[in-house]
């Protein structure tokens, strides 16, 4: 329909986002979220302090290019494991999303976790929803300054602690702590602590749902992993409508009303500011605050819980019970996701278990192609680099095969410190008679570098031996 002859006006295409005052809620799912917050933060803040093998258990030493994760020391050459880990993480996320929707967003995402922590602090100093709205509307006063000042103080404290912990995974956190206490942190450490702290304070204190709505890539593509059997936060429209207030003692059927009393609490608790009664929307992060608060209202009204609940599109339409939902969880998509995930995890675990802590590089001397030892031998020179990624010192023996009577003349033993490289010069000789019988030019030979103490640690490396004309 075309517009009528109304006047035209100029409007802005940008709009300041209105601040969302989410009412706090208690309930089953809120308890789950608190448990996840405690678990993830205990892990994040605590793991940095854990010692292992005389050093930090989890440390990404960028300058030395060694990445310590408990027993393993990963070198840049091991970046394939990182790829593997990322693929497994992504796949696990897709698997969970296909089953239960955006549960990652609502319970485990760092943005949600830190927003929850900051909202909890905000409520402690600024009061509940109504009090916060009133405080923000009021003009500046000593009381407002005092309340907001204390809130920001604790926000900044936690933000800086978060930044400190984050940097503590790259610089040993004990050293970093000492540097912070003596105000002697390096310029880059200071920058990253402040930067990460500022990001935490800004994202959890102010941006909040803006991250979910506009910045997050997962938010954009998560819905393509949904199908009609994915569990989502749903308002049971058939049961709830028509909505309307009524006395507790009244009979809703007689009043021709559904279960929804139109208290609008589900809207007040929503951290992204949507009305779930209009159906699942893009902004919904699946935090189930609306489920919890509606359940409390249902309890007060002595109605059954679950007017807003986790359900599936099929279940709502066809009125299925939970047993039917669970049966449909085991559908081909889920089974295939799960099978692929199991294979990937098995591959990752297997390759880690079978990882060879020895890496070897053989570099032919390019200046001296081949050398004749007066009438007796032909000699080639190599530089042998061994990378001992294990955290104990190793001694290796080097042997060679590939040509008759070929042997290592110098450099047949090499020692390496824990988690470091060692280089040595290797001289390989063949008798002149063998050289005369063989073709001149390049011959493929094989070097075997073997640990003297650990029988399993050995590498067989190809090299080229030159016989001059």
């Amino acid at each position: 329909m075309s517009s009528t002859t109304g006047e035209t006006k100029v409007i802005s295409l940008y709009q300041s986002q209105k601040k969302i005052y989410a009412k706090s809620v208690r309930g089953r799912f809120a308890n789950w979220r608190v448990a996840m917050v405690l678990f993830t933060q205990a892990l994040f803040y605590g793991l940095a302090w854990l010692p292992w093998n005389g050093r930090q258990a989890v440390l990404f030493d960028l300058t030395a290019r060694k990445f310590y994760i408990f027993e393993w020391v990963f070198w840049p050459q091991d970046v394939l494991y990182l790829t593997f880990i990322l693929i497994v993480s992504a796949y696990a996320l897709f698997f969970v999303t296909a089953i239960a929707g955006r549960v990652f967003c609502g319970y485990a995402c760092p943005q949600t976790v830190y927003t929850e922590i900051f909202m909890w602090i905000e409520e402690k100093f600024e009061g509940d929803r109504a009090a916060r709205i009133k405080l923000d509307d009021a003009p500046m006063s000593a009381n407002k300054l005092w309340r907001k000042g204390r809130k920001h103080f604790f926000w900044i404290l936690i933000a800086l602690w978060t930044g400190f912990t984050f940097v503590g995974y790259f610089t040993p956190i004990h050293t970093l702590g000492h540097e912070v206490l003596t105000a002697s942190t390096g310029p880059w450490e200071t920058f990253w602590i402040v930067f990460y702290g500022f990001a935490t304070w800004g994202n959890a204190g102010f941006m909040r749902e803006q991250v979910c709505k506009y910045m997050c890539p997962y938010a954009r593509f998560q819905s393509v992993m949904f199908d009609r059997d994915t569990m989502i936060v749903t308002y049971d429209e058939a049961r709830g409508e028509p909505r309307g207030g009524r006395k507790k003692s009244a009979d809703p059927v007689a009043l021709k009303l559904g279960s929804c009393v139109d208290c609008s609490l589900c809207v007040q608790v929503c951290p992204t500011g949507i009305d779930i009664r209009e159906g699942l929307q893009y902004e919904c992060i699946g935090c189930s605050a609306c489920i919890d608060v509606c359940d409390t209202v249902m309890d007060k009204m002595a109605y059954p819980r679950g007017l807003i609940r986790y359900s599936t599109e099929n279940a709502i339409e066809k009125h299925w019970d939970f047993a039917a939902i669970r049966k449909h969880m085991l559908r081909p998509r889920i089974i295939i996701y799960f099978a692929v995930l199991v294979m990937l995890v098995a591959g990752l675990v297997g390759s880690l278990a079978l990882r060879n802590p020895l890496k070897v590089n053989v570099i032919r001397d390019k200046g001296v192609l081949a050398r004749e030892i007066e009438g007796k031998y032909i000699e080639n020179i190599y530089m042998l680099n061994v990378m001992n990624t294990a955290e104990k010192a190793q001694r290796f023996t080097v042997s060679v095969d590939g040509l008759d009577d070929i042997r290592v003349d110098r450099g047949s033993r090499i020692e390496a410190d824990p988690a470091s490289t060692a280089a040595s010069v290797l001289a390989i000789r063949i008798p002149v008679e063998v050289a005369e019988k063989a073709k001149s030019g390049s011959h493929t030979i094989f070097l075997t570098v073997k640990s003297e103490t650990d029988a399993g640690i050995s590498v067989r490396e190809k090299a080229a031996f030159l016989i001059p004309r």
Partner: protein
């Protein structure tokens, strides 16, 4: 500043950059408002498909604010750094000063180490473990291309660990070799001697290390040797480090010890060249390298034949 392009191009870049930044500001402002009919401002345009119309929801203001911040940052950056080429930045930064600063920083770290070693003579340095580690790394970087990773050279490039020296093998002698370089000058005798004289002389030379294959030829060659060769190589062929004339009795051959190779040496001469390292490496590094090479040659002399 750019040496390759004329200043006209620099002005072009500077003007284009400023105009682009201003254009960004204009684009932002021009696209931050629109005219709509007042009865349904949230709808976009007049198009309709089967009763469906398109919405135009407002974007968060912090998006355009962030964009403005980046433009402000760009102008600030161009004031401080020479991004506009024709105006040097206020901070006076340039890649050449960056390089000079890095060199200065490295020198500040390494000079104390080198100066300490320079105060000691080469022989003292040659037993210092730290100095030998530095020397080993210097050798691997600068010397292995000719002398080999294992320091044993190849045809035409001396073996540095056999303690057999063409020029003085004292610590100071090695340092002089590195600083000034050396020019081996074995004259060519193809025009001076007849072919059979050359072969006889070669046989005599072989006999000096007990490898002659024809005693009569060697006996004939002795006269030629004593007349011509002993001037540089000494009457007994023991060589002369002052001249760089090799010791012919030790069966260590720079170019090969077969009869054919010795005949070739006599015919065409040899012009071995060790490049001078004074300007490339500087005296401090040469000092450490000399100590390293000396130490390796002594170790081989004491520790065994290989």
């Amino acid at each position: 500043m750019n040496d390759l392009l004329s200043s006209g191009w620099s002005w072009y870049v500077a003007i284009a950059t400023v105009i682009s930044l201003l254009a960004c500001v204009w684009i932002l402002r021009a696209n931050s408002v629109k005219k709509v009919s007042s009865d349904k401002p949230e709808l976009h345009g007049k198009n309709e498909w089967d009763g469906l119309r398109e919405y135009d929801n407002p974007l968060p203001r912090w998006w355009s604010n962030l964009f403005y911040i980046t433009i402000v940052f760009s102008f600030g950056y161009l004031v401080l750094y020479p991004g506009l080429i024709v105006v040097p930045g206020l901070l006076g930064w340039s890649t050449s000063t960056l390089y000079a600063d890095e060199v200065k920083q490295v020198k500040a770290e390494t000079d104390p180490i080198f100066d300490a070693y320079m105060k000691q003579d080469v022989k003292t340095v040659s037993v210092d473990k730290g100095a030998l580690q530095i020397g080993a790394r210097l050798f691997q970087t600068y010397c292995t291309q000719c002398h080999g990773t294992d320091m044993r050279g190849s045809k035409g490039f001396p073996n540095l660990v056999d303690n057999d020296w063409l020029y003085p093998g004292t610590p100071e002698g090695i340092k002089t070799t590195l600083l000034e370089g050396r020019n081996g000058m074995m004259p060519a005798f193809a025009e001076v001697l007849k072919a059979d004289q050359i072969t006889d002389t070669a046989q005599y030379v072989l006999s000096l290390s007990g490898r002659s294959t024809a005693a009569p030829a060697a006996a004939r060659g002795e006269a030629t040797f004593k007349q011509i060769c002993s001037a540089c190589h000494g009457p007994e062929g023991k060589g002369n480090v002052a001249l760089g004339a090799p010791n012919l009795t030790d069966n260590i051959w720079l170019y090969g010890g077969s009869l054919a190779t010795i005949v070739e040496t006599l015919n065409i001469g040899r012009q071995g060249k060790m490049p001078a390292q004074k300007d490339l490496l500087g005296e401090s590094r040469v000092h450490l390298l000399a100590a390293y090479v000396y130490a390796q040659s002594q170790e081989q002399a004491q520790g065994g034949s290989k």
